[in-house]
């Protein structure tokens, strides 16, 4: 989905089903585990509170890519990054430099879980919470 980045404008409609997380883990990261998803849905304080989405905000000239010494993360012109798992050296600098702290670094496998702005999570959201949009200041 070129030219667009993930947005979660409809979080008030989110039912916390984790379909988005499971889709990212399943399709992108080949894992059953929703922890291995670049989008993370959380409560703000238990299930009586509102839900929130921790997502890549699609930075222009992304700091995570700038921090990568192996060129595994390359900035997309429309915001966010592309990720080459093969090139990744497993240093974890990207996770540390993420402005909104949403890159999960898997210490066991020494690999980050990075959003590649593919829109898979959007495809599996049953409640119109997520969307792919052109960055407002692109």
């Amino acid at each position: 989905m070129p030219g667009k980045i993930l947005q979660a404008h409809g979080m008030n409609r989110c039912i916390g089903c984790y379909s988005c997380m499971l889709a990212c883990a399943r399709v992108v990261n080949k894992s059953y585990s929703p922890r291995y998803s670049a989008i993370q849905i959380r409560t703000r304080g238990g299930l009586q509170s509102k839900l929130t989405a921790d997502i890549c905000r699609g930075c222009l000239d992304a700091p995570c890519a700038a921090a990568c010494p192996a060129d595994a993360l390359l900035p997309r012109p429309e915001g966010g990054v592309r990720f080459s798992r093969k090139k990744c050296a497993g240093c974890g600098d990207c996770a540390q430099k993420c402005v909104v702290q949403v890159i999960y670094f898997d210490e066991r496998n020494c690999r980050p879980v990075v959003c590649i702005q593919c829109g898979t999570c959007v495809r599996f959201c049953p409640h119109d919470v997520l969307s792919m949009e052109v960055r407002s200041n692109a």
Partner: protein
């Protein structure tokens, strides 16, 4: 289990603060869920001992498809029930199955008794035994809030906790799972209370790589589309289970005022449509379920008469069974009173169905003069009056009189002591669910393995039969048993039963195949039969005698779907079921 690996069982010995991790090849032939839980219960159970004996086990289990496929979201708990004295089996959703899956445990067995109040933190790496003295006595909400602060893994954990009812070993105390779901029935909360376990926090963040991504994704997407793009699941997301209130009332199948009636005009005020229009503020889903059937209503309550413009707002999860047990059974005509009672049972950690039915029985017992408001009840109960019921719920937990001590052991126990068994809405010592549809519903609950309407859905069989020519007793009994066997197959996975029309056995077989597990539809049917028989044998070892099951007169007095039930036909069905069960357990 998943990908053909052995079943991983975490055994926790509470008295020794010791854990053992077992890798069980032998359990693979039981698939998962209720299959492996039945085996583990049998292995650790002390069948002749009391439900609160320290050596009794509590088993939690998930299945091979848990969280891996959509709407496979439930975990099962098995234990000896303090309410019935025999098989305890209950299901709960939200984040528990997911947390167990990614903590790496297919089953967890608790044994022994903690020396002091404790809560357990269970992660892939370890089990921590934590001091819970500061939590003992707290409500389910407050203890949940503290545990969230103290524990790791937001979004990937589940918190199972008991309230004061569990601590005081009320026989129908529940265990609350993640605020809005419960192991509601048959007293798991009391068994945990007897073990001095306030809570379990399970945190799961393991990576489990997919072995056959292409095939698995194909099957996943096929199931997902059926769930979200067809009408099959719409009713559960739309109005939710309270969508049943109005149709059941119109049919004449909604228990009202301790089943003195089976419909009433005011039910419209408690219908799914009314609750949605006036109170619904959001819906929530279990992890991995795109449907979202958990309906949350806004309960706005004024502080008191001295505070003219002061209100508190509470979120309550409403379902058909709660609206029935704490609403129609108690003669309420508006949601505010029902929500006040829901909030109360939630905080105390009581099973809503058993609590409501117990109060309905007590109200009628007072009307008949079997109970005195001054001597036994300490409050005067009346249908439609909320404040005395709120007080009585507190008394069930605090047990200030001998009567409330008896009531805390369940409706059947108290009615045996004080009289009034004929109008106790109880089958197999378990308080009944919110349907009065006819013979199959009554026989199904009276003889189901856990005396639940969900054992075999007799209420659905009755509704199907109404529109058809009269079924023979043999047909009714074989339909009930067949349904229960099939549900045991689904519960070994553990699929939410709301999705049973999507997860037909051929699709289940295909889904398992994509995980590297070879189970034909015939294998699954045979497994369902095997589990059913094993559970019935286990019940018998705990003292269940089918021939002793009584059907209180009230079930026959009140019309079901506008028909008067015949005592002769009921007796014929009862005898036939007893014969069938004897043959099953002897085989």
């Amino acid at each position: 289990m998943l990908d053909g690996r052995p079943v991983r069982v975490l055994l926790i010995e509470l008295d020794k603060k010791r854990t053992v991790l077992e890798e069980r090849e032998d359990l693979k032939s039981w698939l998962g869920g209720v299959g492996i839980a039945t085996c583990l219960l049998k292995e650790h159970l002390l069948p002749g001992e009391d439900a609160f004996h320290p050596g009794q086990p509590v088993v939690l289990a998930i299945g091979p498809m848990s969280t891996v496929y959509p709407v496979v979201t439930k975990a099962v708990a098995m234990f000896k029930s303090p309410l019935t004295g025999e098989l305890g089996e209950s299901y709960a959703g939200l984040r528990l199955a997911m947390s167990m899956r990614f903590a790496g445990y297919d089953a967890i067995v608790l044994k022994g008794q903690s020396a002091a109040p404790a809560y357990l933190t269970i992660t892939p790496q370890q089990v921590q035994f934590n001091d819970a003295r500061g939590l003992w006595g707290l409500s389910t909400e407050e203890s949940g809030r503290i545990l969230r602060q103290l524990s790791p893994g937001s979004g990937h954990r589940s918190t199972l906790r008991i309230g004061r009812a569990g601590e005081k070993q009320v026989a129908f105390a529940c265990a609350v799972v993640d605020t809005f779901r419960h192991f509601g029935r048959l007293g798991l909360g009391a068994v945990l209370g007897s073990k001095k376990i306030k809570a379990l926090v399970i945190h799961g963040d393991l990576n489990i790589p997919i072995t056959n991504p292409t095939l698995y994704n194909q099957v996943y997407e096929k199931i997902y589309k059926q769930l979200v793009e067809t009408e099959i699941m719409q009713k559960y997301h739309g109005l939710g289970t309270t969508g049943n209130v109005e149709p059941l009332n119109a049919l004449g199948a909604l228990p009202v005022r301790n089943l003195q009636a089976s419909s009433y005009p005011e039910a419209v005020n408690l219908s799914g449509e009314t609750l949605a229009r006036e109170t619904l503020i959001r819906k929530i889903a279990c992890s991995g379920c795109p449907i979202g059937c958990i309906h949350i209503g806004l309960f706005r309550r004024r502080f008191g008469l001295d505070h003219e413009h002061e209100y508190e707002s509470l979120s309550v999860s409403y379902d058909h069974e709660l609206v029935y047990a704490l609403g129609t059974m108690l003669g309420f005509t508006g949601h505010r009173q029902v929500y006040a009672l829901i909030e109360k049972v939630e905080q105390l950690g009581l099973d809503a169905i058993s609590a409501g039915v117990a109060l309905a029985w007590a109200t009628e017992a007072q009307q008949w003069g079997l109970l005195s408001p001054e001597r036994e009840l300490l409050v005067s109960l009346a249908f439609g009056q909320v404040d005395p019921y709120l007080t009585a719920l507190d008394y069930i937990v605090s047990q200030p009189t001998e009567f409330y001590q008896a009531l805390s052991r369940g409706t059947w126990a108290v009615a045996k002591q004080y009289g009034g068994t004929e109008f106790a809405c109880v089958l197999g010592k378990n308080e009944v669910a919110g349907y009065h549809t006819g013979y199959a519903n009554i026989i199904g609950q009276a003889f189901g393995a856990r005396h639940s309407h969900l054992d075999n859905a007799g209420y659905a069989i009755d509704q199907e039969l109404v529109s058809k020519s009269p079924a023979t007793p043999e047909e009714i009994i074989s339909r009930i048993i067949r349904e229960e066997e099939e549900r045991n197959a689904l519960n070994s996975l553990i699929i939410c039963l709301f999705a049973r029309k999507v997860y037909q056995l051929p699709l289940v077989s295909e889904a398992l195949s994509a995980l590297g597990l070879s189970w034909t539809t015939e294998d699954l049917s045979a497994l369902g039969q095997k589990i059913y028989r094993e559970k019935m044998a286990l019940k018998k070892s705990m003292g269940f005698q089918p021939e002793q099951v009584l059907i209180p007169a009230r079930f026959l007095e009140t019309t079901a779907i506008k028909q008067q039930l015949s005592p002769e036909k009921m007796e014929q069905l009862r005898r036939l079921m007893v014969e069938k069960l004897s043959a099953i357990t002897l085989a």
